[in-house]
């Protein structure tokens, strides 16, 4: 069995965990306590070991590690309807928080608990037969998810050099900012994602908000945004968890999506977009699902579509879809996508039989587009203005991150942006 271990770090990372595990539980016919729902046919679903550890007959525990430097979000998960779900020993929560400061998450607070976290991760890995990799959810603008998340990424790569590491990274939005020092935190984290992860799906709250608003016909809340992320995460792994005709795993995603080392920053799209509980049973025909999946408006990061090209793309369709139908429709869509001239192939396709609960069929696109450079460039513009004026840098210096380290991270990400622009 090719198991996946999910690691959720920081306030945002754990809020995503809350939505994600709810969704996965439903897909596998489990209750919020990890026991089979009445009438659910667990036996027919042999692949649920990918995400769950079966402790005994009728009791499943998520392969998940929850980490935060602030206790609030995890405490609410533990106190809510999923109180019986997670293994207490796989939860690490500490005070006093990273105070929005990457350097505190990475150095001051991170150093105190990284060994404990790695022990918990090792213990979770020991419960797998053939681990294929890790999913890490966090935000890169805060302090815990960004700083401690960076430290975990580094240690994870050291300890498991051959395993795939996928991050789902919530990037600062170009419009709404959560903290003054987001550009610093984000650039310092992106450098660690660049060096240690195999692929990173960038999600920004602004894009998620826009998508949710357009599709839900009401003002979205953070739960809606995290629900979109959860739908994307569950679809990325669906073809491993459910039988299907075209299978993809994390390794195959990476091989197909990353044309040059380091150019592994992806954006994603899920269709048809519906809010939690609003999936409805409206029958949407497959060509519409496919079209929405590749609609530019539907991607989760603020990509510069005009000045960039596709380097690669994967699509995974779930539910009541026929492989032939998929291939025909995607061949047509492929023609509309502006691919780099040197990429001859099409869109890598996967199909899984089971749709997310409530949907008849769904589509997921994971794409590598050079317009992602715009996300980095925006951060660098703000980083430079602040850095050149010594704004906020004392907080980092006080916590052991020198201006040189910050400048190095900045130049590394500037070169990354340039490599994307050059690849166009």
């Amino acid at each position: 069995m090719r198991e996946i271990l999910s690691i959720h770090v920081g306030q945002c990372g754990n809020q995503i965990a809350d939505r994600f595990w709810r969704l996965v539980l439903r897909e596998h016919g489990l209750t919020e306590s990890g026991t089979p729902k009445a009438g659910a046919n667990i036996a027919a679903n042999a692949n649920m070991e990918v995400f769950f550890h079966k402790v005994r007959e009728g009791k499943y525990i998520p392969r998940a590690v929850l980490v935060d430097l602030e206790p609030g979000v995890i405490a609410r998960i533990e106190g809510g309807d999923m109180a019986q779900l997670f293994d207490e020993s796989s939860i690490v929560r500490k005070i006093p928080g990273a105070a929005n400061n990457w350097a505190r998450g990475y150095n001051v607070e991170g150093e105190r608990i990284i060994d404990q976290i790695m022990n918990v991760i090792d213990a979770a890995v020991e419960k797998t037969k053939s681990l294929q990799g890790f999913l890490l959810t966090h935000s890169i603008g805060g302090g815990s998810g960004s700083g401690l998340g960076s430290l975990i990424l580094e240690r994870l790569r050291q300890a498991y050099p051959k395993k795939k590491i996928f991050t789902f990274s919530v990037a600062p939005s170009p419009v709404i900012s959560d903290s003054a020092v987001e550009p610093y935190n984000a650039i310092l984290t992106l450098q660690r994602i660049l060096d240690n992860a195999d692929a990173a799906v960038l999600l920004d709250n602004e894009a998620l908000f826009r998508i949710a608003k357009a599709k839900l016909n009401r003002s979205p809340n953070y739960m809606d945004l995290n629900h979109i992320i959860a739908l994307i995460m569950s679809s990325v792994t669906a073809s491993l968890r459910f039988p299907g005709k075209l299978n993809t795993d994390l390794g195959e995603f990476v091989t197909n999506l990353v044309p040059f080392p380091g150019n592994h920053f992806l954006t994603a799209s899920f269709a048809p977009m519906r809010g939690p509980g609003q999936e409805g049973q409206v029958r949407i025909n497959f060509p519409d699902v496919a079209r929405e999946t590749f609609s530019q408006d539907n991607f989760t990061a603020a990509i510069d579509w005009q000045n960039g090209v596709y380097l690669s793309a994967c699509a995974l369709f779930r539910g009541d879809v026929k492989a032939k139908e998929v291939e025909e429709n995607m061949a047509a869509i492929r023609k509309t996508l502006n691919f780099a001239s040197y990429v001859p192939t099409g869109v890598k396709l996967g199909v899984a039989d089971t749709a997310p609960e409530g949907f008849a069929s769904s589509g997921l696109a994971l794409v590598n587009h050079t317009g992602i450079a715009a996300v980095f460039e925006r951060l660098i513009v703000n980083f430079d203005i602040m850095f050149d004026n010594h704004a906020y840098t004392h907080w980092y210096e006080n916590a052991g991150v020198s201006r040189d380290m910050m400048a190095t991270a900045r130049n590394t990400i500037a070169n990354l942006a340039k490599s994307y622009r050059d690849a166009s």
Binding site: A75, V381, A391
Partner: protein, 469 residues
């Protein structure tokens, strides 16, 4: 659940009166009886009570004790607190002396203050020992009187010397002739500014000049008393600590350290101002609720800031808005705040400093309320006013003998005055440098490449400071 713990030290008459009102309010918010420290039917208090309280005993006899240390060099206010707060506070933490500081910074800083310091530090250490993690220390004091200014400075310096790691937020009430008649207030304030500038991690200004006007105009009080002004201050303090005291699914918990990370762009630029909305008189708030947009508009209005200045005409270095109450209109608040941000005179070299916090738990007097914390260059105007009054006195050495007699030298006094001027200047420099036209941002059509050599060049603040010297 372990959370960051905050200790509140209140000093002098104003500091302790504010503290008494603050503790009463947050006791009510947490469901703790402000006279006994107990809860109804021995329930668990609301929210993360351990942020500001310790628990004494358990079961029905258990009570919750504020993490408070109260100090005064004269007895009357502390006696008053003892008389009116029942068994809420630990009596060992209510420290007073008999002589008072006579409205003289030097007595609080050099004389009687030194004598009481060991006892105060020992009570503070005792409180620190009881914490899971010290999230910060809030110092409440007024800079006009002798104890608040002198002993306040001495304590902040001693605290930071001993516990450099613990963030200290000084909440300093600035004097106004409207409210008080202590003639030496400008001296005391200027002297304490030096410590607030050098030792405190941040200083939140409550300017009685502005508070008097607010109580008069917004609360329709003919001639407001300090009690009225202290109620305004309490509203703001309760609002800004709410994100340290409560959690909830949508609540964004913000520690004191996190607030400071966002609000202090450079170590020397750490003087904050605040405002509160709605400024409806508390007894009418139930009947006259403001809409979200109105509330935000009022929050940023020059006329509702707790400092006598016009922030909309200065530059915002950084901003935090803390919203508390019913969350139905959170998305509406988000977008209204984003729109407000567009209208603010921001500092071009700090493009992203706009922190928003949410707390689901309402305050006592309003169903929905907001606190604005701003690092704004107009604070220079407030400090300038104090310094001008100082200069009038000091030119004639009026009342200077009181300070010289207590061991301060003319040289020292001149140096302290110069320190205040440097503070004013650093804000003026920030205002000038912040005014630079916004760097062309990403609206361009062509892709931009930003590489090592193609960096946006800009005048740095450091350069400007150097040039001025």
């Amino acid at each position: 659940m372990k959370v960051n713990n905050v200790i509140v030290v209140s000093i002098g008459q104003a500091g302790n009166q504010i503290a008494a009102s603050f503790w009463k309010t947050i006791c009510q918010e947490h469901g703790i009886d402000p006279l006994t420290g107990q809860t109804a039917q021995a329930q668990e208090p609301r929210g993360n009570w351990s942020a500001f309280f310790t628990r004494l005993g358990d079961g029905s006899g258990g009570s919750f004790v504020p993490r408070a240390v109260m100090v005064d060099l004269e007895p009357s206010v502390i006696e008053g607190v003892k008389d009116t707060s029942g068994s809420l506070f630990n009596p060992a933490n209510l420290i007073s002396r008999t002589e008072g500081a006579g409205g003289n910074f030097a007595v609080g800083y050099l004389g009687a203050g030194r004598e009481v310091l060991p006892e105060v530090m020992s009570r503070l250490d005792n409180e620190i020992d009881k914490c899971d993690n010290v999230g910060g220390i809030i110092v409440l004091h007024a800079t006009g009187g002798g104890t608040g200014s002198g002993f306040g400075s001495l304590l902040i310096e001693s605290l930071k010397e001993k516990h450099a790691e613990i963030p200290v937020l000084a909440c300093a009430v600035l004097p106004s002739p409207q409210v008080s008649s202590v003639v030496t207030e400008p001296y005391n304030t200027v002297f304490s500014l030096h410590t607030l500038r050098r030792s405190a991690d941040a200083c939140l200004i409550f300017d009685n000049e502005a508070l008097f006007e607010l109580a008069h105009r917004k609360w329709n009080i003919e001639s407001p008393t300090v009690d009225d002004l202290n109620l305004l201050i309490t509203e703001a303090l309760a609002g800004l600590t709410a994100s340290m005291r409560f959690s909830g699914f949508l609540t964004v918990e913000i520690s004191l350290r996190e607030l400071l990370t966002n609000l202090v762009p450079q170590p020397s630029l750490h003087f904050l101002m605040c405002s509160f909305a709605p400024l409806t008189p508390p007894d009418r708030s139930k009947f006259e609720e403001l809409g979200i947009e109105e509330m935000i508009k009022s929050l940023f209005d020059n006329g509702s800031v707790f400092a006598a200045c016009n922030p909309m005409e200065g530059r915002f270095l950084s901003t935090a808005v803390l919203y508390r109450g019913i969350m139905d209109d959170k998305p509406q608040a988000d977008s209204a705040l984003a729109a407000m941000r567009e209208q603010l005179p921001l500092t071009y070299w700090i493009p992203t400093a706009f922190k928003i916090g949410y707390v689901e738990q309402s305050g006592i007097s309003h169903r929905k309320s907001m606190v604005l914390l701003a690092n704004n260059t107009e604070i220079a105007r407030v400090l300038d006013r104090i310094c001008a009054n100082f200069d009038k006195l000091w030119q004639r050495k009026a009342f200077a003998n009181w300070y010289l007699n207590e061991g301060m030298s003319e040289e020292q006094i001149n140096a302290l005055r110069a320190s205040a001027q440097e503070l004013i200047q650093s804000y003026q420099v920030a205002e000038e440098s912040g005014a630079k036209a916004k760097v062309q941002d990403s609206s361009g059509d062509s892709p931009r490449t930003i590489t090592d050599d193609g960096r946006t060049s800009s005048m740095s603040l450091r350069d400007l400071v150097d040039r001025r010297r």
